[in-house]
Symmetry: C2
Subunit: 619 residues, 2 copies
Amino acid sequence: MSAGMTLVDAALKAGVDIETPCGARGACGRCIVRVVSGNVDTDSAGKLSGEQLDAGFVLACRTRVADTDLTIEVPQAKDLEGGQFGDSLEGIRVLNPSLMPGPQDIAPPTGKVTMDVSAASGGDGLSDLDRFVMAMRDRTGATRVNCPLGVVQTLAESLRASSGKLTVTSAHSDTRHTVVAVEPGDTGRRQYGVAIDIGTTTIAALLVAFPEARIVAVHADYNGQVSCGLDVISRINYARHKRGLDELRKRVLETVNGLIGLAAQSGEIRARDITSAAVSGNTTMIHLLLGLNPDYIRLEPYTPTLLDVPVFSAGDVGLDMCPRAPVVISPAVGSYVGGDITAGVLCTDLAADAEDICLFMDIGTNGEIVVGNRDFLMTCACSAGPAFEGGGIGCGMRAAEGAIERVEIDPKTGVASVGVIGNAKPRGICGSGMISLLSGLFSACWLDQAGKLDRDRPSPAITVKGRRAAYTIVPAKKSGTGEDIVITELDIENIVRAKAAVYSACAMILNQIGIGFESLSKVYIAGGFGRYIDLDGAVAIGLLPDIERSKFHFIGNSSLAGTYMLLVSERHRRAQRELARRMTYIELNTDPGYMDHYTAALFLPHTDPGLFPSVHMGR
Amino acid sequence: MSAGMTLVDAALKAGVDIETPCGARGACGRCIVRVVSGNVDTDSAGKLSGEQLDAGFVLACRTRVADTDLTIEVPQAKDLEGGQFGDSLEGIRVLNPSLMPGPQDIAPPTGKVTMDVSAASGGDGLSDLDRFVMAMRDRTGATRVNCPLGVVQTLAESLRASSGKLTVTSAHSDTRHTVVAVEPGDTGRRQYGVAIDIGTTTIAALLVAFPEARIVAVHADYNGQVSCGLDVISRINYARHKRGLDELRKRVLETVNGLIGLAAQSGEIRARDITSAAVSGNTTMIHLLLGLNPDYIRLEPYTPTLLDVPVFSAGDVGLDMCPRAPVVISPAVGSYVGGDITAGVLCTDLAADAEDICLFMDIGTNGEIVVGNRDFLMTCACSAGPAFEGGGIGCGMRAAEGAIERVEIDPKTGVASVGVIGNAKPRGICGSGMISLLSGLFSACWLDQAGKLDRDRPSPAITVKGRRAAYTIVPAKKSGTGEDIVITELDIENIVRAKAAVYSACAMILNQIGIGFESLSKVYIAGGFGRYIDLDGAVAIGLLPDIERSKFHFIGNSSLAGTYMLLVSERHRRAQRELARRMTYIELNTDPGYMDHYTAALFLPHTDPGLFPSVHMGR
């Protein structure tokens, strides 16, 4: 290692990837390492405790090599469970079966036809391509057949391998066909597409077999960009230099291509047999996937390069599948309401021709809200932060095996008993666990309206250090990590901020329409909370409004479900474009009223008790 | 080096490229090397003389390593003058000025427009792409604007670098525009295209500046595939394995891209400022350029994958220029009448609406013939071999500096005096020199009708070794190589075969039409003979028919000139497609009469003296 280099760079040179979720700005503390021997110049004070500094811990991003003979120890990343979660089909939940594509709707972006091409003959003066194009015209009625070079390169062999019987995969608009692949023989029964949901934190991919539109495999993994920043704003910052943008693109493609590979493996096919793709993601994720500078998303007037995305080829996008496969990308509505939302609403009555006003909220690292009916659709976004997905919380983790998803508090002792995903030893807490924990502590009065733990009643679970208190959910001896699983008041503040952002954005948009929460006929909740949601708990902490519980519908990863519908049916592709076109985007950042709503929501459940009558009754 | 490996492979492993023009079949003798120490297993007998074998010379392709401690000496390639020839504009000769594109015709495959795109605004909900497409529609009347990902990636910066003033390069068909490049500001005066002629032996590139269609630079070089085989058949053989095909594609792209780079340098532009290309080559060259298996060109029924070539992008083809630039490739008529011919005829009255019957012949490694007028066009091809381009002849070379291009024979002594290109010391002899030499020797009776040197009259220039005689054109002391420049009877046989192939193909096709040479109003001769042609000499050896000399028109590299016209004008692109469509292709290989014509032409000038009255009169 060379003197002057940061430890992050020095470690990378030595082949060790130290993750810097905040973009190496010394903000997140995730890149903590211990200097075992040798000298460093560090600027870690203020980020780490005196004890940590004394023990030789530093932040790798804030520390530079002073002495080239240096040994550092990188702690095991204990909160990365990539690939262990969500690999099941239960993400696809569509409450209204009438919205699902029926057999008559199934029309993926590419179709297959089998045809016979006349044999080569010296007399007719026709090339292989001439005879192929003539056969395509006869078989499909195409007026124009565009045959990319990659297809032409395989044509001679394919034609001669099967005496002219070919199966052609093509995309068409009207009577203009673009050939995607040519295979010898009849391969009509082998037709696949992939639906990909690119979340800021998690990426999921579904392999779909046509013509039945059957889901063959589903796989999910952390977005490989997580180590470059936890939320979209840190990613945008990371991408400000071309090298950062290139790295982010490379990382998301690595994750996506890994999932495509896994899905192909599960389906026992070759990835290049996948001949169409549908992709959804928020506006920033799509910009990064396509190698587009996302900086203008963040800068006034918040104008992205793309909202409605042209159809590019898999090869251009960088997806490891049939290189000429068309990639349909969900249209976005604005900088912070992306294609994941226009895909998600496809799973709700907002996509039906209904009069009742519904509200759709997707609670992820960003929170997005859509409200409306057949007459109007309004949408806005807020920055919830990654708390509910396990980010920015010391013991936070995804809804994976070992995650605490449910907590009960002994009202007398304040001690928690927990439910853990997979009945494993607990390793951390996921979003639904946090809601359950906070509402439990709040209901039993171990937590006050301001989010402070009770320092006056003694509890074995509460420890006070200086001005800050912390709550031990699971002690070291019962924990899967061998350490206490602890939530601090700082963590609680993060969770309260997240719920306040979401609630106040909903309140704000309804306020603009001039209705209250009680006027909504349905509230759809999408997002990565995990399987179990404590609905009363979510109301108790003020994340969800205090309305009739039967109006709430948890729809899981609706972006993935919607992307599946897009992949499968032209009707839904049209419906989505129409929905996107109809949505009116409201910019909360520039709305002076939003901050008031937000500040009022920074209490448990809210500064206005009248808004949460059932909670105050129950406490 | 490992035992059992051929010396060619062993040398390649050691970084030395031994050229094997015949495709390493032991046929051409070019891969001669000397074993300095160590043991080899060689099968070079029969190809090399006893003296050569005694001196340790072997053919690298026929020799395998027996002993891993081996030293070999690779002779300097003395006949590769890459880049030294033809770098002038004189290749562009169009006899009939009315055929040249006029100012009103100039319409390259891509055009530039300058426009103003409205600034980003939060209120309109429009992305950068939305505003760009709207401006394109307003400015050009486009109904559909296809914006490839590579363009979208630069859009945000371009828009913001120039307050929305952009110069857009696009290709269009009707009202569908495909954007090729977007630049900030007004760059309308900076527009370039490249015309590329891919010969089996030589590749040439012209850089053209628009809107004037001015030729900015011309560069030529040997086709990098030469070391994989001298003629199209050896290239096709070389390409039979995928690896060979990949290598040939790589090699031709290296040469082409080298020339594009040189042309850009000469024009003081960046290669990526070149936004259109026109390419011509024979059918095999175009298949290899595009990575298409050429094997079916060689196999009955001689059906290539492509004749009429779709427009691909420079990036797909592999050209180092603007990656989305369209590449217009000249259409071929058959396996052995390629786009170089349909480009070449654009420079002749065959492209004019004339009644007179004209004959076009392109004499290269392959000879192609087109005959006709406005009512009919017939075409055929013959295999002349590379003799006239310097290949397969011991002292043969291209028409470059140091090449003997003119020879006079002292009738008494048989000794030659020579004219050399660039007034340099002679290093070899080019095609026009060979014609001049043979006709001189023949006229002075030092060479007989069968191509044998006179063994009976003593001449210091003629040496007889066993059954073979050889003629020293320039003795070592006057030569630029320090060695005698010698032509053997074997070389003469090669030249006679080449001229016989061309002449008999012409005779054959006229025979089919039912006319004789005297009915032709013009004979256009294209090809790489060099600048000087001894017309009487060419008639004397029976390469050209014995008709009125004023009917002959040497048009140089008409393929390059025609490719220039294609690049420059839509009218010529249309005219070429129409010409290609009208040409009737005659397959000589399957015509039983051709061999009779050919055999009859294997004499000087011909077995039928009545066909060459002036020659016999002069002798």
